[in-house]
């Protein structure tokens, strides 16, 4: 601890212990804890407490029953927890009504247990209860009482403490603890209804994930019991958690997977038109399911279906997912659910029509099913099913009933299926299905780009950009796109009233034109007015758009164009870059200025080569490059940016100048520092800028002056300063203590204010 902080600490402790002194800003306490964590992490807590008796006094003071705010109480408990991580000398309490206090107390209990049992456990395989120190026995008795309690909050509390314990502590002693408490946990499952089901699931999963405990066969029995005792909705998270485990009994995995599959199996059964229809669950369980285990209320049914879809979605990409993975029936189920939702299914069974009434128009299920369908694109499917997938996706894209969020998901799922259809490496041809739907897709896109909802126009543009990025060079795609009105509509959306849409249009125009897909539209009414090139159009957006998003999007496009050697830019990079840099340097949005400097850096790399082992550029190339840089007025932009009030701008420009300096100074050789009148005037300007004045522009600069200025500046030191956050001084521990002490007494009516 630095001496200034040590000096302020006693006064601060006195303030904290005084209930009449409110702590104005609750973040202060959190930040204090951060600091104590850092301090104890660096040295001994015992030493800290010995050197600063005020801390011990504070802890003892808080233990006395008195009118303390729950904030101070939970702060002190957590502080005690930090110390207890090393030392054992504290008491606790746990029944406070505030969950945060209770949670802090819970964390402290875990620390105390860990500390008390870690020691005795050393050398023993598994310490027996009679070996445990008194304080650990007391904690365990308390937990046992809670688990036996009829009051649900007490049970929940105990389960939370145990979950944290087994989640954080992996000593052998945890085996003894679990052996002692697991019968009580199992007994909870026999109650009707099962108390604190969520907390119970958390505990079982935390035990199952513990490397020390997962070998206990009793655990798996309890988990299996939980799966059968809990309702399908409650059991879902447990089932999903079990399936994510690396190692667990196969029978349990099968049971867990069944729970997740059941709702989908039910959907398939309900929709089945004949005996040959795909089924998810065969045999008794499947039939039993079909009888009717779906909840009767619509919202419960929707909830169950959505959570099953979500769990399966998360499971699908995992290597430990159940094998065999029923890809085809799952695909069929997802498609069927979507059909139920949009009313295109005509089920003949009674269960089917009931489901249909429940699901029709349900946006929540539509979203979940589309997400799931998208994830399923990572696996294969029979051709007939894949055709059905594209068909249902198209139905959703076309339907006027699809809400904007559903449409967005439909676009995303479609893109995933399109991408997966072209999987062979090196081949970016469209699959036959994709070829088939391409025409229809573009027709939908054409319509959606004219939607009155900005969300829809924007999602449409994002979809177009991604499609073009992938297939811009592919013959049938180009042909279909050029035959549609999509490129022209995209160009028009550069003038959209919504700035988000304009930004997406900029990205789409950038992508289309880099593939040569933005053909100049015919203008029969004004044949003699020359059509603006995409480059000019985007420059217009950069200089005139009132919002930051479109301008930032323009900068990204230009940078990409320059980097990828896009034809229009590659013809004459200097000519193309100069106006962009000029516009960016004057932009009010600092992010545009940063991107301007990024563009400049790419430009520099193209002139001088990337930074590598043979860093310095050959003298001839260097002079030429410097002249070019002077012509595009890059130096004025970069040097001014060095003192920009927005830190990332300064940092970027520092990086850029350092790059240039490395290129200009061959390693080992010390060039003569120029000291002409020009250098002096530049340095004077730099000093003015540093002081925050704006001053006159630098005007024309000679390459030698630039080099001399670069050499005379300590850019490395500046880079280190800029790497810190702009408020690092205000955020230091010393500043925190000063602030907390400064607010004492001066708080009037201001303290409870806000915006």
């Amino acid at each position: 601890m630095d001496p200034e902080c040590a000096r302020l600490l006693p006064a601060l402790c006195a303030v904290l212990a005084d209930p009449r002194q409110p702590v104005a800003d609750d973040t202060c306490l959190e930040k204090l804890l951060d600091w104590f964590k850092a301090v104890t992490g660096a040295g001994s807590s015992l030493l800290l407490l010995q050197e600063h008796p005020c801390l011990v006094e504070l802890l003892f003071h808080v233990l006395k029953p008195q009118d303390l705010s729950s904030r101070i109480l939970s702060f002190t408990l957590r502080l005690a927890g930090i110390f207890a991580a090393q030392e054992n000398c504290f008491q606790f309490l746990q029944g406070d009504p505030s969950l945060f206090v209770a949670s802090a107390a819970g964390q402290l209990l875990v620390r105390v247990l860990d500390l008390a049992l870690r020691g005795p456990a050393e050398g023993h395989v598994c310490p027996q209860a009679w070996d445990w120190p008194a304080c650990a026995r007391k904690v365990v008795c308390h937990l046992e009482d809670c688990l036996r309690s009829e009051a649900a909050p007490r049970v929940t509390q105990a389960l939370h403490v145990l979950t944290t314990t087994f989640g954080h502590c992996h000593g052998l002693w945890t085996q003894g603890l679990w052996a002692r408490l697991s019968p009580l946990v199992a007994r909870l499952l026999e109650k009707d209804p099962v108390p604190a089901p969520h907390a119970l699931v958390d505990l079982l999963l935390s035990v199952a994930r513990s490397s020390v405990l997962s070998s206990d066969p009793g655990l798996w029995e309890t988990a299996a019991q939980a799966l059968s005792r809990l309702s399908p909705t409650q059991a879902g998270p447990l089932a999903a958690g079990i399936l994510k485990l690396q190692d667990c009994p196969q029978a349990l995995r099968i049971q867990a997977f069944r729970i997740l599959l059941q709702p989908l199996a039910h959907v398939l059964e309900a929709a089945a038109q004949g005996p040959g229809a795909p089924r998810l669950l065969e045999g008794a369980a499947g039939d039993l399911m079909a009888v009717d285990t779906f909840p009767p209320s619509r919202s419960a049914c929707v909830g169950l279906l959505c959570s099953a879809l979500a769990h399966l979605e998360l499971l699908q990409p995992l290597p430990q997912r159940p094998s065999p993975w029923p890809q085809a029936p799952l695909l069929a189920a997802a498609v069927t659910i979507l059909r139920f939702c949009n009313g295109s299914a005509a089920p003949s069974s009674e269960a089917g029509s009931r489901l249909c009434t429940m699901l029709v128009g349900c946006v929540r299920v539509q979203r979940a099913a589309l997400d799931f369908l998208g994830v399923l694109s990572q696996g294969l499917g029979p051709q007939e099913l894949v055709t059905q997938v594209f068909a249902i996706l198209l139905e959703y894209l076309v339907s006027p009933d699809s809400s904007p969020t559903v449409l967005k998901k439909a676009f995303q799922a479609t893109l995933r299926w399109l991408l997966s259809s072209a999987t062979p490496p090196g081949c970016c041809d469209l699959e036959p299905y994709a070829q088939l739907v391409l025409g229809e897709l573009l027709a939908v896109l054409q319509k959606r780009l004219c939607s009155p909802c900005w969300e829809v126009r924007d999602s449409g543009l994002e979809f177009l950009t991604q499609m073009t990025r992938r297939w811009g060079g592919q013959g049938s795609f180009r042909q279909a796109l050029l035959g549609s009105e999509v490129p022209e509509l995209t160009r028009q959306l550069l003038q959209d009233p919504e700035s988000y849409v304009r930004a997406s249009a900029v990205a789409a125009v950038g992508q289309l034109s880099s593939w040569g897909l933005l053909a100049a539209p015919s203008r029969p009414e004004h044949p003699d007015v020359p059509q603006k090139t995409p480059l000019e159009e985007l420059l217009l957006v950069l200089t005139t758009d009132s919002e930051g998003f479109p301008r930032r999007a323009v900068m990204r496009v230009f940078t990409e164009w320059l980097r990828d050697g896009y034809a229009d830019v590659a013809k004459d990079p200097e000519q193309s870059v100069a106006p962009v840099l000029q516009a960016a340097s004057r932009d009010l949005d600092w992010e545009v200025r940063v991107q301007g400097l990024e563009l400049a850096l790419v430009f520099l790399e193209q002139l001088l080569g990337p930074l590598g082992p043979s860093t310095a550029a050959p003298p001839g190339a260097l002079t030429q490059a410097l002249q070019a840089l002077c012509r595009v007025q890059l130096f004025e932009f970069a040097l001014r940016s060095l003192f920009d009030c927005d830190r990332p701008v300064a940092q970027k420009s520092c990086d850029l100048l350092l790059f240039l300096k490395a290129k200009a100074t061959p390693s080992g050789s010390q060039q003569e520092v120029g000291d002409g009148p020009n250098v002096a005037s530049v340095e004077a300007a730099l000093r003015r800028w540093q002081a925050g004045e704006q001053g006159q522009p630098l005007g024309e600069l000679a390459p030698e002056t630039v080099l001399a200025v670069l050499r005379s500046m300590d850019l490395e030191a500046l880079r280190d300063t800029l790497a810190e956050s702009s408020d690092h001084v205000e955020r230091s521990p010393q500043s925190l203590l000063q602030d907390m002490l400064a607010t004492v007494g001066v708080l009037g009516d201001n303290e409870a204010d806000c915006y």
Binding site: D26, P648, G692, C754
Partner: protein, 599 residues
């Protein structure tokens, strides 16, 4: 037991990040999703782990409602929806939907600008989050699903701020968000109808304050600005992009016009145009005066307020500058502050609260020597003023709203514990309702008695009518029947009809009881004595002595028998049907007292 549960994750006894979970009739709603600007890590957001422990948020929450665009009410939204993974609907009013992304973007830029901010959301995330928003109109009932509906009411405070009523069946909760019960220069006063919710969740920022007249505060502000400008000083007003800044702009603009002042007023980063745009677009949300005069004069088109350029800060002479951000923690406002702080002629006016870790916080707590980067010390000689222009209801206003809505219970949030305690007592005394003030993470549970509609069969009603009593709305009447629950409908029908509908046969249920009496006489004699005793006591009932020796009173049957083991004891077997339950119990207790001695 049906109940309403409320758990604040933020704004429980504090004014940090508002985020309140409400469970009502099985539906879960999140009210506001605010951010705390005092942290630079995940703690700036509410601790969602309390709800994400089991399963996904989307499966748990039915919707999120945002009351207004201030960041302490909506700042965590992109984090919540794009990083924690909430995928459901988000409801807010149209102006909030339009302005919210601007403020989020503004704050994102400040966070990135400052650097050292971990795990912050991106522009793309803000956009994706805004795509999940459903805009609502005032007083429009929005059906979230079959059961859950919400409705917005005008709240004043800032453009687009709303109170929300959340309703499931007959149970309802009203959440006020931040509100103002007195109109100001550009907004009207909050209003709600007498909706009598089960629970009113109200902010309580000024729980103990009766705010001094706003005119005084405004005069004070103008006087200070005027004096500074007159003596050639510069005035810096750090603000957030949109919101109260516009109120101050109108104030200064009107004053400049009236006093014919020449000193320039600037507003940084082109935000005035953007503000103008939105205030024009949402003119119906402003107050009556602005709406009326809008055609002749648009109050948001300022003659005296110009866009600020970085070079202006060095210009000599007086000026007033509104600059972002509002807490002097980065960017332009901080740069200007550093330039002007050393001159005692200048002044900085902080119109809002500043969190710890900012220069704003330091100067408001009276620190005048500020350590700057590189061990430099900045001596603050300029005047520092704090003038709150936040528009919250004061204690009187809060009481007024409670009176207006007539809730069954009140719950206080967004305020300080000590002050809440005072207001809680006041509300409980005046309105005789329960008032709660949970801390963050603490759950308040309110039992409710939902009314369930029950249909009554015509047959049953006709039978009741036949008994001669005409229905009277003021006098509740007891009606006997059988309740049938079918297809989630409830119907009360006569028992005969129920039997018929359900295809059941009628069974008779009899209660039996044994009464032991110490008596050596024979059973027949015993029965006779029982008969005469009952005959004398139950004069209004039909008491009979049957040939088989048993005694009946209405449907009640009494038989005497010998005790199997004790010849000195006799056993009376009493049995009755459930229709005569009352009489049966009475008779049993009567017999238990014993028979009178034979005379």
């Amino acid at each position: 037991m049906p109940e309403i549960r409320v758990t604040p994750l933020g704004a429980g006894q504090d004014v940090g990040r508002s985020c309140i979970l409400v469970s009502i009739a099985g539906k879960n709603v999140m009210l506001d999703c605010g951010m705390h600007m005092g942290f630079s890590d995940d703690r700036r957001f509410p601790d969602f782990s309390y709800i994400t422990r089991s399963g996904r948020l989307t499966d748990f929450l039915d919707c999120v409602i945002i009351s207004h665009f201030h960041l302490d009410h909506c700042g965590a939204l992109p984090y919540f929806s794009e990083m924690v993974g909430y995928d459901g609907p988000i409801y807010m009013t149209q102006p909030t939907q339009a302005i919210c992304p601007i403020l989020l973007e503004d704050y994102r830029k400040i966070a990135v600008d400052k650097k050292g901010e971990a795990n912050f959301f991106t522009s793309q995330m803000i956009k994706d989050c805004m795509k999940k928003v459903v805009a609502v109109h005032l007083h429009q009932t929005v059906q979230v699903d079959d059961e859950l509906e919400i409705k917005a009411y005008y709240a004043g405070h800032v453009l687009g701020a709303a109170m929300f009523q959340i309703k499931v069946g007959s149970e309802s909760v009203v959440y006020t968000g931040d509100y103002n019960m007195t109109p100001d220069r550009h907004l009207g006063a909050a209003w709600i109808d007498k909706c009598r919710p089960n629970l009113l969740i109200t902010e309580s920022t000024y729980a103990t304050t009766i705010r001094d007249s706003k005119r005084c505060r405004e005069r004070d502000f103008l006087k200070k600005v005027h004096e500074t400008v007159e003596r050639g000083g510069k005035v810096l007003i750090p603000v957030f992009a949109l919101g109260r800044a516009q109120e101050l702009c109108i104030l200064l603009e009107t004053f400049w016009e009236r006093m014919d002042l020449k000193a320039p007023i600037y507003f940084s980063t082109g935000l005035t145009e953007k503000a103008n745009h939105y205030y024009k677009l949402f003119i119906p949300w402003t107050n009556q005066k602005i709406r009326k005069t809008f055609v002749q004069r648009n109050m948001f088109e300022f003659k005296h307020i110009k866009a600020f350029d970085r070079a202006f800060a060095d210009s000599p002479g007086p000026m007033v500058v509104f600059a972002t951000p509002g807490m002097l923690h980065a960017g332009q406002s901080l740069q200007i502050f550093r330039k002007w702080a050393g001159n005692e002629k200048n002044m900085v006016i902080m119109p809002g609260y500043c969190v710890q870790g900012t220069v704003g916080h330091k100067i408001l707590s009276g620190q005048r020597k500020l350590e700057m980067e590189g061990r430099q010390v900045l001596e603050v000689k300029m005047q520092v003023e704090y003038m709150s222009f936040s528009a919250h209801a004061d204690a009187k206003g809060i009481m007024q709203l409670v009176g207006q809505a007539e809730p069954e219970n009140v719950l206080l949030v967004h305020g300080e514990a000590k002050k809440m305690e005072f207001l809680k007592q006041k509300i409980e005394q005046e309105f005789r309702v329960n008032c709660y003030m949970p801390a963050n993470g603490e759950t308040v549970t309110l039992p409710t008695s939902p009314s369930i509609p029950v249909g009554i069969s015509l047959g049953l009603l006709k039978r009741e009518m036949a008994q001669g009593l005409l229905p009277d709305a003021k006098k509740p009447r007891l009606l006997h029947g059988t309740l049938i629950m079918k297809d989630s409908n409830f119907r009360l029908v006569s028992s005969e009809q129920a039997l018929k509908e359900l295809g059941l046969a009628e069974h008779q249920l009899r209660f039996t009881c044994r009464v032991h009496l110490h008596d050596t006489r024979k059973e027949q004699e015993m029965a006779m004595r029982v008969y005469s005793h009952l005959k004398s006591v139950l004069k209004d009932h039909c008491v009979q002595h049957l040939p088989d020796g048993s005694v009946t009173v209405e449907s009640i049957l009494v038989q005497a028998a010998a005790h199997s083991e004790d010849p000195g004891t006799k056993v009376l077997l009493v049995s009755w049907t459930y229709q005569d339950e009352e009489l049966g119990s009475y008779l049993t207790s009567l017999l238990k007292k014993g028979l009178p001695q034979a005379s």
